[in-house]
Amino acid sequence: MEQDATLEHLLGLRHLTPGQIRNILDHAKRFKAINERKIKKVPTLRGTTVVNFFVEPSTRTRTSFEIAAKRLSADTLSFSASSSSFVKGETLLDTARNIEAMQPEILVLRHKASGAPHMLSRAIDAAIVNAGDGYHEHPTQALLDMFTMEEHKGPISNRDVPLKVAIVGDIAHSRVARSNIHGLTKLGADLHLAGPATMLPTAVESLGVTVHYSVEDALKDADVVMMLRIQKERMGTDLFPNDREYARMFGLDKKRLQLAKPDALVMHPGPINRGIEIQPDIADGPQSVILEQVTNGVAVRMAVLYLVSHRGRPAAPVEVQ
């Protein structure tokens, strides 16, 4: 697949071409090598300012972006919801314009409203990177998931038999699932979704995926099993009754995992609810790559920050061996 080395913003995977996704994953390979050195730093983004603007709580993603920016020698600063003027009633746009007045080159945004990054990308000059918006997209998470899959299973595209990926859980409220659906289908993976009927979005088949109401059907012969986090705050609502029933019906345990291919990868975007969507022996087992996902997240975010810092101009493509 041809790399397309232009990336003006990263708002989601829905509007990226397969070539742009390929290019980010190929660049991430080079950046991963930097993270394995003794001196984990290159001078590439010296003088570039990256603002991490997290209006919704997040530790993993924010620190991952922060480490990624620092390893590229960018200057970083982080705003969080509680410390910003948000609590004083300022609108998102006003806060963003104030941040912009300090002339950052890149703004990484996490926001509870779907579409917030899109709105900012039209309103301000900085390159916008979506770090998760509402129920919409979480593109860097999906990219690091795809990167981790390729490390173990080889390229997702151009296979004789498409890579079978099962995504299980609360699909309707998951921006991780949505970004993975867009990204993986663009690269030609065979996607199977399963979850409680109350948590499956209607007409999701139109995105080119197969929907199952029993988790067993989705897991059959899967190359990758991706479990989604169940948000406990939804428990007891009409979406699902309690965590024990969820674990019994949809949780990943040893018996269910045996339905997938013997070398299937087990993934989870974290933080995990042990004993609910995934049993501890599976989360810590030999097929689990959950912590590798976290490691790869830094490399993927370095690639994204590097590419958007070119402001739409093409970066040098990566040599593929």
């Binding site: 090598a33 290159v42 590439t44 070119h310 040098a316």
Partner: protein
């Protein structure tokens, strides 16, 4: 950046002459480092990598010992990294030896402004503290913008800043090995 079309094309060295220059450079390395003790060759992407492989073969044949090799891509270390000047490709950076305490010979095809070498020096020291870093180039075309000189030079070429000096090699997809001087 638009470049005027070149009307004069001079061959500085054909395939045979490139081989002869590399033979001589290998001898010069051996004169400075008998038995190649403690040295390692590091090619700068793209053409520097096959050049250092060619030198490695010669040195290993002459000394009977193995000479370690590495490669660096300087894209992320360029002082114009984000100015949109395209690098050909981002290649792999890899050292098959500990950088600490090694005498490194950087290998590149053409020495011009010295900016590539400046970036390469920064890249190497991020991997450790080498004992010495030397520079070997197939061609030196002058017009330095940094105080950088090569320790081993294949050929010196008189050029103007509007000229271009290019090395083609079969290892990087060209038909034959050839060093050419292009003038407007």
């Amino acid at each position: 950046m638009s470049q005027a079309p070149f009307s004069i094309e001079t061959t500085i060295a054909d395939s045979q002459k490139v081989d002869a220059i590399l033979d001589r450079l290998a001898d010069e390395i051996l004169a400075a480092h008998p038995k190649c003790e403690g040295i390692a060759l590091v090619g700068i992407y793209t053409a520097g990598v096959p050049l250092s492989q060619r030198l490695q073969q010669r040195l290993e044949a002459k000394t009977g010992t193995s000479v370690p090799m590495g490669m660096i891509d300087i894209t992320l270390y360029r002082d114009d990294a984000l100015d949109g000047l395209p690098s050909p490709v981002v290649g792999e950076t890899r050292f098959d030896f500990p950088v600490e305490g090694t005498q490194i010979i950087l290998v590149d095809d053409v020495l011009y402004t010295g900016r590539t070498v400046r970036a390469a020096l920064d890249a190497v020291v991020d991997f450790g503290r080498p004992k010495v870093i030397k520079l070997l180039v197939l061609a030196d075309r002058g017009h330095r913008e940094f105080p950088i000189e090569a320790n081993f030079v294949g050929v010196r070429v008189e050029t103007s800043k509007r000229d271009s000096v290019k090395l083609s090699l079969p290892e990087i997809g060209n038909e034959t090995a050839c060093l050419k001087h292009f003038q407007p």
